[in-house]
């Protein structure tokens, strides 16, 4: 009751700002905030284009040198990915890495000595239920070239754990999200910015999912605090550049040796899902199953089947290997003892 009262007053105050005599200044400030925020949001065009698989999504700039945070999706599964800035400049980004739990991907534009406008993930802005929000995204791919992304307005209606599905599959992310009454759940909106009326980043618009309970489309955003650490790690992890060993082991590890088969590698970034596990193999003994997603191998993040296979080639088949697996939203750590090693024992 109290909070309802508070939000009533809040809304009343907001309408005061919006409609009163000082209204011109207040309103032009809001459009200034929007205009400024729009320059930090990018349009992404990539794979897709079939019915209900739109070939576009949204991203946000998170560094002055062109780091773009977006949703991890099939749109990125192409070598011909284009990121278009608010001013119309188009770039082919480099794929730096992903956070499979939150389904986020980090891209880098080939920009060096320029200072782009960006959302600073180190600034931690949060919001309460009842707060007014703006959602900026290129939903429906309406904006092209130098056209600005669309802005929808609304209110945070709940802060609750995400309990959602995509098709028949439960989504991996289970932590709290901002639920909003603006229609953020639209084709192409994923990766867009949820901001407050001061233009501060509150969260990243999530991918299209339905409530597991009601089957309705969910309008939600991942709170900045929920991904900033992970993304900053991704940024940092990439900066401390990893060097492959100068010499490959005599006998490298293979999926065959581990007793697992990955799903067919048909895309530039096919996520490394396990397709099948051989009976009594190291994989099975370690508890791996079909549909497990490999996210780390020997301490390194693997974003694709190719990444994983490459990681195996650096690994001697006589040594055990540690894998991090994503299964039903949980990270599972396993250690696989190879047969060669067992034989020596």
């Amino acid at each position: 009751m109290v909070s309802k009262t508070r939000s009533t007053i809040f809304i009343a105050l907001m309408s005061l700002i919006a409609v009163d005599g000082a209204y011109c200044t207040a309103e032009s400030q809001l459009s200034d905030v929007i205009q400024k925020a729009q320059t930090k949001v990018v349009k992404i065009f990539g794979a897709g284009g079939l019915r209900q698989l739109e070939a576009h999504q949204t991203g946000i700039l998170i560094s002055p040198s062109g780091h773009v945070l977006t949703a991890l999706s099939y749109v990125l599964d192409t070598d011909d990915l284009a990121v278009i800035l608010d001013d119309g400049r188009s770039y082919h980004p480099e794929y730096l890495g992903s956070d499979p739990v939150r389904e986020l991907a980090l891209l880098k534009l080939p920009i060096e000595d320029e200072s782009l406008p960006y959302f600073d993930l180190h600034e931690d802005s949060t919001a309460q239920v009842g707060d007014r929000i703006l959602a900026l995204s290129n939903l429906y791919g309406i904006a092209t070239g130098d056209e600005s992304v669309s802005v929808l307005q609304g209110t945070i209606t709940a802060i609750a754990p995400l309990d959602a599905r995509r098709g028949a599959f439960t989504t991996a992310y289970r932590d709290e999200v901002y639920v909003v009454d603006a229609y953020t759940n639209n084709p192409g909106a994923a990766g867009g910015a949820l901001i407050d009326w001061q233009g501060r980043l509150l969260g990243l618009l999530g991918k299209e999912v339905k409530s597991r309970v009601t089957g309705t489309w969910l309008n939600y955003a991942l709170p900045t605090a929920g991904f900033s650490t992970s993304v900053n790690d991704l940024l940092a992890g990439h900066n401390s550049s990893w060097e492959p060993p100068s010499q490959l082991p005599e006998l490298s590890l293979t999926t065959e040796v581990l007793g697992m088969r990955l799903i067919p590698d048909v895309l530039p970034f096919t996520p490394p899902y396990i397709d099948a596990v051989r009976r009594d193999s190291p994989a099975e003994l370690a508890g791996l199953r079909a549909d497990d997603l490999i996210v780390f191998a020997a301490g390194r993040q693997v974003a694709s089947c190719r990444d994983f296979l490459e990681a195996l080639t650096y690994h001697d088949r006589r040594e055990e290997i540690q894998l991090s697996i994503l299964r039903e939203g949980e990270l599972v750590e396993v250690t696989l003892q190879t047969e060669d090693e067992n034989a020596e024992d």
Partner: protein
């Protein structure tokens, strides 16, 4: 004990109630603002129209823009209605309305509500001033909810401006439209998008839905009111109005360079000097950096409009006035809309474009089949409808022609001008000129020599004097229209208003077609004076343009004495008329003009 407990409960309830009530009383300013918003919505609601197809099958929304009942709506709302529709206002009354004009490409239609001359009207805004983040609200009849004709209001934000939405089906194109998250649902089509002050900024008509079903998901589009303002006079002509095209195509090269990649050598753009490879820098005052931006700007102009075009070649900038050709062949447009009229009233269509199955399969229908209830047209509608191919409602065109012509002839006492004109005066060089004109032939004498034209048969070769583009022929057609009147002249129609004044002022345009050539007569809208003539001998030729000023009384009539004659971009002559003799005076007599 129990009683005291109950008393206590009551007391605490009362206390709680006060405690809760106190903070919810808003400050007086807030109440004042709230009241203001209520007033704005109330005022806007009075001009909002609920449109029903006469048999009750479907409908949409509209908004009244003049006290005599002219109202805007979507073409796709009125297409299934045919000639007549029923319109409900929030006074609870149902009015008969008649179709006036349609713009099938822009998805706009003009109707007239009948029975009053004091209809409440919406104030028109300026959609070019609308910014992303502005508040806006829709008023309309979503899901046909309003049994009492009170519009449903939905408040939201402007999500995008200058949006371009690709044609859905074959015709419909939303260029330079406003995007809003105020709910636009089926039934809102044709209704108003108002700004926070209640000014009309757009006509709602489309949304993006895709897999979400036909219910608003935060993305609706409104045709900008500034586009419609250019079309309103054309729609009042009762015609099927076409949009403009360019006569050339462009592509976006490296960033910000929009370059001509194909051009028709018969078009106005080519004659103004535009060539393959030129960079378009601005169109109608808008900077152009993408092909999409050019398409967005172009889509808001009617056929025949003139706009400034700037282009760049080899580092040099050029600035020209471009007369925009039509997007469709007129006959083709008529056929296309007849096809579209049989498609049932479509709620707002979403993007992207999808092949229109109904259209592919449907036969060309007879226009009469589209108006099943024609014999039962309400009397008020019947008296304001005339069916002519190529027109949505010819009655309105005829009215406009008569109004313009009678006012012009009457105010200047031009009934007795006859068909023998002898005009003389000086050129800007102070040299003398003389024009003699009869219904059969014309002659003009200038220091450079004498030339003549014969007015018989096909007229498109009689374009003397050389370099004028057809001054004598233009005068002949003007004389013919004065002599014979509109009925006997040949084909005549009212086109609408075009920005043909010296500073782009809008002028009413009457078009006459005779002997294979076209004459356009341009009138001041307020004053009714004829201030210009334009002769178009062919589609691929520049017109002879005459502008009149210096109106003076000459033998009982009021006539222009200052004529500026232009052809292409050149001034052919500036004529200062000193004598003007008409019928009864002997023709071609020496010394008539000293």
């Amino acid at each position: 004990m129990i009683r005291s407990y109950i008393t206590f409960c009551f007391l605490s309830l009362a206390w709680q109630a006060t405690a809760k009530a106190a903070p919810t009383i808003p400050a007086p300013e807030v109440i004042a603002i709230e009241r203001e918003r209520v007033e704005v919505i109330k005022r806007a609601s009075t001009a909002s129209v609920a449109i029903f197809e006469p048999s009750g099958q479907g409908g949409g929304s509209g908004v009244i823009i003049s006290p005599d009942g002219f109202a805007l709506t979507n073409f796709h709302v009125v297409a299934p209605c045919g000639v007549a529709m029923k319109c409900g206002l929030n006074d609870g009354r149902l009015y008969d309305a008649v179709i006036v004009g349609v713009d099938p490409v822009g998805d706009v239609a003009l109707i007239q509500l009948l029975g009053r001359d004091d209809f409440p009207v919406a104030e028109l805004g300026d959609s070019d001033l609308v910014k992303v983040g502005d508040w806006a609200f829709t008023a309309g009849n979503p899901f046909m909810l309003a049994d009492d004709f009170h519009p449903s209001i939905s408040y939201g934000m402007i999500s995008g401006v200058h949006r371009y939405q690709y044609p859905a089906g074959t015709l419909l194109e939303y260029a330079d439209c406003l995007q809003t998250d105020a709910a636009i649902n089926p039934g809102n089509s044709g209704g108003a998008l108002f700004d926070a002050e209640g000014r009309l900024i757009g006509i709602n008509g489309r949304g993006s839905f895709e897999k979400r079903g036909r219910v608003n998901v935060g993305v609706g589009y409104a045709i900008s009111i500034n586009q419609i303002k250019r079309f309103v006079s054309h729609l009042k002509s009762g015609r099927i109005v076409d949009h403009a095209s360019l006569g050339f195509t462009v592509s976006t090269e490296d960033l910000g360079r929009v370059v001509v990649d194909d051009i028709l050598d018969t078009g106005d753009a080519y004659r103004r000097g535009l060539r393959y490879g030129d960079q378009i820098t601005s169109f109608a005052g808008r900077e152009i950096h993408t092909a999409n931006a050019l398409k967005t700007a172009l889509g808001t102009y009617p056929r025949d409009w003139t706009v400034p075009l700037r282009f760049r070649r080899e580092g040099k900038n050029y600035s020209v006035q471009l007369r925009l050709p039509g997007l469709h062949d007129p006959a083709q447009l008529v056929d296309l809309i007849q096809q579209q009229a049989v498609v049932p009233s479509a709620p707002p269509e979403g993007s992207p474009p999808q092949p229109d199955k109904e259209q592919k399969d449907s036969q060309l229908p007879n226009i009469n089949a589209l108006i099943p209830d024609k014999p039962e047209l309400p009397l008020a509608v019947k008296s304001r409808y005339e069916e002519v191919r190529g027109y949505a409602n010819y009655w309105y065109n005829h009215q406009q022609q008569q109004k313009i012509w009678q006012r012009y002839v009457g105010k200047n006492a031009l009934e007795q001008l006859g068909t023998h004109w002898q005009i003389a005066g000086t050129l800007s060089s102070a040299n003398r000129f003389e024009i003699r004109l009869s219904s059969k032939q014309g002659k003009m004498r200038m220091p450079t020599g004498q030339s003549g034209a014969i007015f018989a048969g096909e007229l498109d070769s009689q374009l003397s004097p050389p370099g004028s583009g057809g001054l004598l022929l233009a005068m002949h057609l003007w004389q013919r229209m004065l002599d014979k009147g509109l009925q006997q002249f040949g084909e005549v129609y009212y086109l609408g208003q075009l920005p043909a004044g010296p500073d782009g002022e809008l002028l009413d345009c009457l078009v006459g077609i005779y002997g294979g050539v076209e004459i356009r007569l341009l009138f001041l809208p307020d004053d009714g004076e004829l201030v210009g003539l334009e002769l178009y001998p062919a589609d691929d030729a520049d017109p002879c343009e005459i502008r009149f000023a210096g109106f003076t009384e000459i033998s009982g009539a009021r006539l222009p004495t200052l004529w500026q004659v232009r052809h292409g971009e050149k001034t052919f002559a500036e004529l200062q008329i000193e004598t003007w003799q008409n019928d009864g005076d002997p023709l071609f007599e020496q010394g008539a003009t000293n």
